[in-house]
């Protein structure tokens, strides 16, 4: 068939045509706009709407930002400078930013929280980044005690004796080495508890009387602003991960009692709002402790926030444990590893890797939830902002303070979520 008309074709091209440019609608910016902005009429309508929204926002907000006033001592002064035009009065941040960051912390001692924050970065570096020298981990272990001492001040013996509790526990662990793991662990825990509960207070008294080394003490009620959010957030984050792992293992345990207690704890904490737990810390804790005991409000809040985050953390990690194929557990058993070795070497490294997004989300949630402490009278940024707005100089100012506070929180939380993406990429081992 195909050769039937071969001789009758009147014309056959025997040279190549020069390459032509693609049509204008299929190249460059036009093509991009056609494909990404006007791909069908729904897309076109959405594009026009979006541009309208953006234009409206810019039109409304640009003058406000463009006319910003940075130098003024009160809102009235701001308005005089603006002379009727709309404009932001960032002077409120400029005048009050130290208060927003440090609360009523004594100004001549600002170097202490700043130093604590800088050292915090040094302390977390070996945990966060593989490039950091591993020896820094020793500093990370010391850092919590150092930070407490720097922030609250007072005699150095308090934190040193508290730190020695761990040494006492370790000593007990070595001394009981011949008795098997169960007795060893129990003995170490009991020794440390005895040290902290019974011996610590008198030893601190004796030592601080004998060698009064210390720096000026700062009471908790002078803490405030972002400092308090960061203290509660960092403490909660550092404590809730290990406790959450234990609780998740408890919930997965074969022992009915351990499992039951874990389930009840997790479901109770997850079932009530954080704010009720904070009120419990501020109103009810005095009922549950021996008469006459009274301890620091920030410490109580840290305990409650930690318990709250621990329950969520446990559920996130349980998700990671459940996502592991059964073969991993069976493989660990087949190798003859005992429970803790199997968890430490086989299960947890994989389960934690799977749960990274959830863990970091819990951290972010915890950090954002630190704003709730304003309800029990701690002067966190929002509390400071209300106090600033209540002064006669700044009465009637809203947006500048909220935008500043929101922006600072945004930077921290967005940073954490980006870090979690980086960590996921770094730990990715499957082939994609």
């Amino acid at each position: 068939m195909s050769d039937t008309h071969a001789q009758t074709v009147p014309f056959v091209r025997d040279t190549m045509l020069p390459e032509a440019e693609p049509p204008a609608s299929e190249m460059g910016a036009v093509k991009w706009i056609r494909e990404n902005l006007f791909n069908g009429w729904v897309s076109a309508v959405l594009t026009v709407l979006s541009i309208a929204v953006v234009a409206f926002l810019v039109y409304e907000l640009f003058p406000w930002f463009a006319n910003s006033v940075w130098n003024a001592n009160s809102l009235t002064e701001c308005r005089q400078i603006l002379d009727g035009a709309t404009g932001a009065c960032w002077a409120v941040i400029r005048v009050n930013w130290l208060q927003l960051i440090f609360g009523f912390y004594p100004p001549d001692l600002y170097w202490r929280p700043i130093l604590a924050f800088v050292l915090l970065i040094v302390a977390v570096a070996p945990v966060l980044f593989p490039a950091a020298p591993k020896n820094l981990l020793y500093f990370s272990a010391v850092y919590p005690f150092l930070a407490v001492w720097l922030l609250w001040g007072g005699t150095i013996w308090g934190v040193l004796v508290a730190a020695m509790g761990f040494g006492v526990g370790y000593l007990a662990l070595r001394l009981l080495g011949s008795f098997g793991t169960l007795i060893q662990t129990g003995g170490a825990v009991i020794a440390a508890l005895v040290w902290w509960i019974l011996l610590a207070a008198p030893i601190i008294d004796v030592l601080s009387a004998a060698l009064p080394i210390g720096i000026e003490a700062v009471p908790s009620r002078e803490f405030g602003g972002f400092m308090i959010s960061i203290i509660i957030g960092v403490a909660g984050i550092a404590l809730s991960l290990p406790l959450g792992i234990l609780l998740a293992l408890g919930r997965q345990s074969n022992m009915p009692l351990i499992k039951g207690v874990s389930v009840v704890f997790i479901e109770f904490i997850r079932g009530v709002p954080l704010i009720t737990l904070l009120f419990t810390a501020s109103l009810l804790l005095n009922y549950f402790l021996p008469p006459g005991t009274n301890f620091d409000l920030i410490l109580r809040v840290i305990i409650m926030v930690t318990l709250f985050a621990t329950a969520y953390m446990a559920e996130v990690i349980r998700g990671g444990l459940a996502a592991l194929p059964r073969g991993q557990y069976e493989g660990a058993d087949a190798l003859g590893l005992d429970y803790w070795k199997a968890q430490r070497l086989i299960i947890m490294p994989q389960a934690l890797k799977i749960s990274i997004p959830g863990i970091v989300n819990t951290f972010i949630g915890l950090f954002k939830d630190t704003t709730l402490v304003v309800f029990i009278g701690l002067l966190d940024p929002i509390g400071r902002a209300s106090a600033i707005r209540a002064t006669s100089d700044w009465q009637g100012i809203y947006w500048e303070l909220f935008i500043f506070i929101g922006a600072v929180f945004w930077v921290f939380c967005f940073g954490m979520s980006r870090y979690s993406m980086y960590l996921e990429r770094r730990l990715q081992t499957d082939h994609r």
Binding site: L46, L182, N254, P273
Partner: protein, 416 residues
């Protein structure tokens, strides 16, 4: 010849309680139980001693004494002469109303934002990314306070609606947005059936009749569709149902509303304020909008993750089988995506319900502000009030997570 019967039988020794995995778990559990009971006894003993020292007893009698405070938003009849218990119920209802409203709007906004973030339209996708990242990473408390400030600072006062050329005007001549709240038209019935009294609450019979008729219509329609499916399975021909569905769903409710003389009550400016219609207070609006836009950002991410989680091969396989695109979405993609989406979605609903307790920040009278706030302050019953409040929150949360577990068990993939 005697066969060796495996491991030698060893008699029980005390050391096995520690070293034999068959018995060790009992040792650990008994030890844990003792510790737990000691701890509980310590707490209870402390509480009793503290209560005695303060000269207080442990009793819930305060729930039946006169409250003496007013609540601005009352779903059921209430004033300051009613009891603290009644105030707590009003607070709980306010909590639930706010939670349901916020869940609905957050879901709608979240689904739209999540789908649009996956859109091929560059500017829309970028805008949604900006929205989600902005709202997710700033505490919800700030959003609630910001919305509250917008409502009370930037909206016109009712007096701005006055005069022939007012500064502000009502939306569609029916919705007035003022700095005292938003006024929307409310339903009114001319031939009302009156109210009934159930357990001290007077629900309107009209509303009940409307709900009952709607429920019956929906039930009848479900029956109709099931019957059609059965006929289709048996004979291969699906009977036409669309006009029957419309008739069943719309006719009874129209007749009922007509018989009851249903019409809308529009808000009107009288004196210094709007009268008529339903007033949504600033506190409710701030909580509702603040919680909605904040949680919607999370829901958007959940929806996006759910859609992305479905393997592309599923769509291709459905096309290869000759299934239409719309049916592919409905029968293949959505059921699988929902399995991924629904559990975290319900846990967001739980979060909304718990976050309603932030109402304190803007003066919304929810359970925390009534029972856990004013009642506790007035009666000095912190312990009882807090315990009761936690119990109620816990029951609400457990009810929601119970629904989630039922769903999870129904759609779970069966593994070994």
């Amino acid at each position: 010849m005697a066969m060796d019967s495996g491991a030698p039988q060893r008699s029980f020794t005390l050391g096995m309680l520690l070293y034999d995995t068959r018995y060790r778990s009992y040792t650990i559990q008994i030890f844990a139980l003792i510790l737990l009971m000691l701890g509980a006894a310590w707490l209870v003993d402390n509480t009793i001693r503290n209560l005695a020292a303060l000269g207080k007893d442990f009793s819930f009698d305060f729930l039946w004494s006169t409250s003496g405070y007013d609540i601005s938003q009352r779903p059921i009849e209430y004033d300051s002469t009613y009891t603290h218990g009644r105030a707590a119920i009003v607070g709980l209802l306010n909590t639930l109303i706010l939670a349901v409203m916020a869940c609905v709007t957050a879901t709608v906004i979240g689904v739209i934002a999540g789908v649009l973030r996956l859109s091929k339209n560059w500017i829309v996708a970028k805008l949604m990314t900006v929205y989600i990242e902005t709202f997710r990473n700033v505490p919800v408390l700030i959003w609630i306070i910001v919305v509250s400030a917008v409502m009370s600072e930037s909206m016109p006062a009712p007096s701005a609606f006055r005069g022939d050329t007012p500064d502000a005007s009502m939306l569609f001549d029916s919705i007035a947005i003022t700095n005292r709240g938003v006024y929307v038209p409310g339903p009114l019935f001319d031939n009302s059936l009156g109210t009934v009294s159930v357990l001290g609450v007077q629900p309107s019979l009209d509303i009940i009749a409307v709900i009952v008729v709607l429920a019956l219509s929906i039930w009848a329609n479900v029956r109709l569709v099931r019957h059609a499916a059965k006929v289709q399975n048996a004979t291969g021909i699906r009977p036409k149902t669309w006009w029957k569905s419309i008739l069943i769903l719309l006719a009874p409710i129209t007749i009922l509303l007509f018989a009851l003389g249903f019409h809308l009550d529009y808000p009107e400016l009288r004196g210094f304020n709007f009268q008529g219609g339903i007033q949504m207070r600033n506190s409710l609006l701030a909580m509702w909008l603040g919680l909605s836009i904040y949680t919607a950002a999370f829901i958007a991410e959940i929806v996006r993750a759910g859609i992305l989680a479905i393997n592309k091969g599923q769509t291709e396989a459905a096309y290869a089988l000759g299934v239409q695109p719309s049916k592919t979405m409905r029968l293949v993609i959505l059921p699988q995506a929902l399995r991924v989406i629904v559990p975290p979605l319900i846990s967001q609903y739980l979060n909304i319900t718990k976050n309603t307790s932030l109402g304190l920040a803007v003066g919304y009278m929810d359970l925390r502000s009534t029972l856990g706030g004013i009642t506790i302050n007035q009666t000095g019953r912190e312990l009882e009030g807090m315990l009761l409040m936690m119990l109620i929150y816990l029951l609400v949360s457990l009810a929601i997570s119970g629904v989630m577990n039922v769903y999870n068990n129904r759609v779970r993939l069966k593994e070994r």
